[in-house]
Each structure stands twice: as C-alpha cells, then as structure tokens.
Symmetry: C2
Subunit: 151 residues, 2 copies
DNA sequence: ATGGGTGCAAAGAGTTTGCAACTAC
DNA sequence: GTAGTTGCAAACTCTTTGCACCCAT
C-alpha cells in the first residue's frame, strides 16, 4: 500500500497517513484522525476547528485534552495530512482535503467553509515575483452563505 | 464631497478619509493616519502591524496607547480607508492601498508583504457559488523573499 | 524498559473592553 | 457643556509549552 496515494477516494485517510509516517498509534490520535476521516467518508467537506475536533474526539474518548488535539493537528499539518485554512479572524480551521487542488468559499457571517474548484489557478509572471521564490497561491472567496442570507 | 472617492492618486489620504467621514480630528488619529500616509507618499507599499503603527505614532507622540491604535485601525477599516491583510499567523496587517485592486505576495519566513497585480482576477461561475452571495476574492501568493532566500 | 505521548495548568501572543479623565466640537 | 476619545489595566480568545505520569513499541 503506497503511502503517497492521492486518489479522491480510497484508503488515503488521515489515519493511514499517520501510520505511514511511522508514528505511535495512540487512542487519542486515532479518534482525532477519525473526526476527519468519518466526515470525509460521508462525502462532506471537512474544515474543523480545534474545538470541533475536540468535541468529536470526546464523543468516543471523553478524556482527550485540547492540548493533545492541538499537538496532533500541528503534527498532521507538518506531515502534510491536513492543511490549515486561514480565517480572517476566529479559530483556525483544518482541512482534510489535501489531495485535490481547490480553493475556499467562506461565509463572512458564520465562517462556514465550502470547497470550490477554479478552472485554472492564478499564477504570477516572473517579472511580477519581486525576486520571491513563489511556492503557492491561496484563493479565498468571501460572501454570505444561504443560511445567513435567509436569517 | 462624496465619501466614497477612490482615485489612484491625489489627495486621497487616510487622514482625508477620516476628515471626510466627519470624525473628530485628535492628535492621536492624525499621527496614526500619518504613519500610513507618509510611507505612501514615499511610493512604498504599506502593510503595517498594530505594533509598527504604534512605533511610528510614538515617534511624534510618545504617549499614544496601543489601545487607541487598535481602536483607530478598526475604525479606519470599517470606514474603508484601510484593508486588513490576513496573515497565516502572527499579527494582523493593515493596508492603506484600498484604491486599486491588487493581490499580495507574502514571505513565509519574515511575513513581508508586497503588492502584486493580476491581469484578471479569479471569479466563480454561478453554479459554483453554492448559493453564496459572493462579495469578494482574496488572492495570496506565498513564498520566500530575496532577503530570506539569501539568509 | 524507555522514549514518545498525554493531560493539566500556566504562560503566551494578539486583540478587545470597561471605565474615569480629558478634549474637540 | 457634552458627547466622543483617550489611556490604563484587566479580560478575552486562541494556541503553545513545561512537566510529571503513562503506555505503545
């Protein structure tokens, strides 16, 4: 089972990535990974805050600590199994969808995040790079979600 | 004088906008606005943190408080005279260049921000909006600036 | 058995806020 | 004179860290 699989579907879960990296599989890490994997299996976008992960993890393991959640989330980001979503303010969100290149649509009222796909992503001409070694682009659309428009 | 002026050049300073909005011109607000206006006059990109604004303001008015800086920056953002630049982490930055549509190039090491201009900015097809009322896009290129590459 | 992982509580960064004194209008 | 502003300090939110105990390997 190749550890660098990047299929949209299949066994490329957060937990798999943890295992593939050769880390100790503790119950805590398993339930934290499961918070993402379960929702992904349901076909949903997953952009959880640390508190949401804590809540999900505590559903099966009531004594997990917020510190462990943060530690694990940071480890998973460093590993490349999760991506951070920059909010304008409020708590950071973690995105389990690292396999396909996508952008975000964020609700300015409730901070809900939805994945969107651009046909082509913006690039910077060599003359516009100001000598920077450009590593990536991040595109965020901001607006109001249907629920907040109704309210 | 319409308060929604947005000329690229001319007397459209942060201080002007403050005045145009009919606010009380205190010394504090003047020196805070000046921190942006002075650098803009020099033709520089201006993306200051609250601490940098405080330092600049204290150069001429040693007793300004950080709280006043924050209050004023928030007021100026609400007024539309400044724009917030979302960092991935670290302190928020404030951009005085609200007149022309532009994007940012941010150094992942030192957080330096440079303005860049895209020929066309990305848009979302109606079917990709997920029912959102999309109000704006934000494009951020990330990489290493020349100084940090050298180091 | 042992080194990495955990939980707790305390510290930390960045920002906001309550309130009495002050000042631009 | 009076309402809007200020400065201070305390509070707040989110995240990180130090340390003693614990458990996956």
């Amino acid at each position: 089972m190749p550890p660098t699989t990047a299929a949209t579907d299949g066994p490329d879960t957060v937990e798999d990535r943890l295992r593939a990296a050769g880390w100790r599989m503790t119950v805590q890490r398993r339930v934290i990974a499961e918070a993402f994997d379960q929702r992904r299996r349901d076909g949903r976008d997953v952009h959880l805050t640390a508190e949401q992960v804590l809540a999900a993890a505590r559903a099966t393991l009531p004594d997990v600590s917020l510190a462990t959640v943060y530690n694990t989330l940071n480890d998973l980001v460093e590993l490349g199994a999760l991506a951070e979503v920059s909010p304008d303010d409020g708590p950071r969100r973690y995105d389990a969808n690292v396999a396909d290149d996508h952008q975000h649509l964020v609700c300015v009222d409730c901070s809900r995040v939805v994945d969107v796909h651009l046909p082509t992503r913006p690039t910077l001409g060599p003359d516009a790079r100001h000598g920077f070694d450009v590593a990536g682009v991040e595109v965020t659309f901001r607006g109001r979600c249907p629920d907040c428009r109704a309210a």
